[in-house]
Symmetry: C2
Subunit: 187 residues, 2 copies
């Protein structure tokens, strides 16, 4: 089914490549974050890749947008490059964001991004064609399946289980407004 | 089904992003190749992205390997960067290779790569687990479906139909050896 396929592709085509030790630098994601904190002198409470899985599949270009005023963009982690399927030195880059923690009056850094397959899924199924009403009909169960399959794949791969955090959430409130994602990230 | 899902994801998550005019430079792939030929003074008989779709799903890291001695690696096309789903400045890069055309005693350049979803499909379905025998059983029809769906998606998107060339081929001969892909590319 579609959700399982997306999770397999995302896991074997991305997470299982960028999270463990691989590429020229041979560092895993946690070690890349440590290098970053040394270089930039910031605080990373959660030294993992935070993956946002919004039920709506709406994935903004950047988490630092006027929708989320307490999130600002930061320099990215170091790029990783690998020769993959004929693409020489394909670049893998993870973004870092600074979140203003109002309660504790501090700023914290996180390595976070949306789970890109959701954006591709939404784009593909809502482009002109018979799929568009199928998206509305099946979206919820497909995203649910994507999340649960991904969670199991991570659990069963002990080397990278602790290098990734999935946040599966209802991102739109009853008034059609975006919920504050920094709350989800900081909890 | 799996083949259709791979094609939709590859088209809307990659080809429909990198082939048409997009990103900061606002050039399509053909224009990027023209910039490359001006910069490097080489010949590109086919100013398109050549996508290799091998029936075996075996995708080598690079086309310039000792398996294909008449293919050498060249500098890549200019990188395209886009903010995608929270990844700031995600890098999209296409590789260029030089092929020795023995018949005409010349060297030609091509922009080519394997269709990455096939590598991810093979990796995912042959990792430890019940999927492994399913890969052997269903591989041929899944790759066939991937190819035909991709071909139709390209046909129906006139802006990018001529920017991409699909090469669907039986890459392994009766003795289990790789066929010479330069022959497929040059024909
Ligand atoms: N050759 C090639 N070069 C690219 O830059 C590229 N980017 C995507 N793709 C292929 O297009 C399709 C759609 O991509 P999407 O982003 O939705 O899913 C991607 C995406 O969610 C994630 N991923 C892969 N590379 C990155 C990356 N650099 N940054 C963030 N996420 C990534 O993992 C999924 C599977 O990746 P691939 O299995 O490499 O093939 C993809 C996929 O088949 C590419 N193919």
């Amino acid at each position: 089914d579609y959700g399982t396929g997306m999770a397999l592709s995302f896991f074997y085509g991305y997470l299982n490549i960028i999270l463990p030790r691989s590429g020229k630098e041979s560092t895993n994601l946690k070690e890349e974050i440590e290098i970053y904190t040394d270089t930039h002198g910031v605080t990373f409470p959660v030294p993992r890749l935070i993956l946002l899985i919004p039920q709506s599949c709406i994935c903004l270009d950047s988490l630092a947008s006027d929708k989320f005023p307490n999130i600002e963009a930061c320099p990215s982690l170091r790029e990783r490059t690998l020769n993959v399927a004929g693409v020489k030195n394909r670049v893998y880059k993870n973004s870092v964001y600074k979140i203003s923690d109002e309660k504790r009056k501090r700023k914290i850094c996180v390595c976070a991004e949306y789970a890109t397959p959701l954006l591709t899924f939404k784009t593909g199924w809502t482009s002109i064609g018979p799929q568009a009403k199928n998206f509305k009909k099946h979206r919820k169960e497909i995203v649910q399946k994507f999340y649960s399959t991904l969670r199991d794949l991570l659990k069963n791969n002990l080397e990278i289980t602790d290098l990734c955090e999935l946040i599966y959430y209802d991102d739109i409130d009853e008034n059609g407004k975006f919920r504050d994602i920094s709350q989800f990230i900081m909890s």
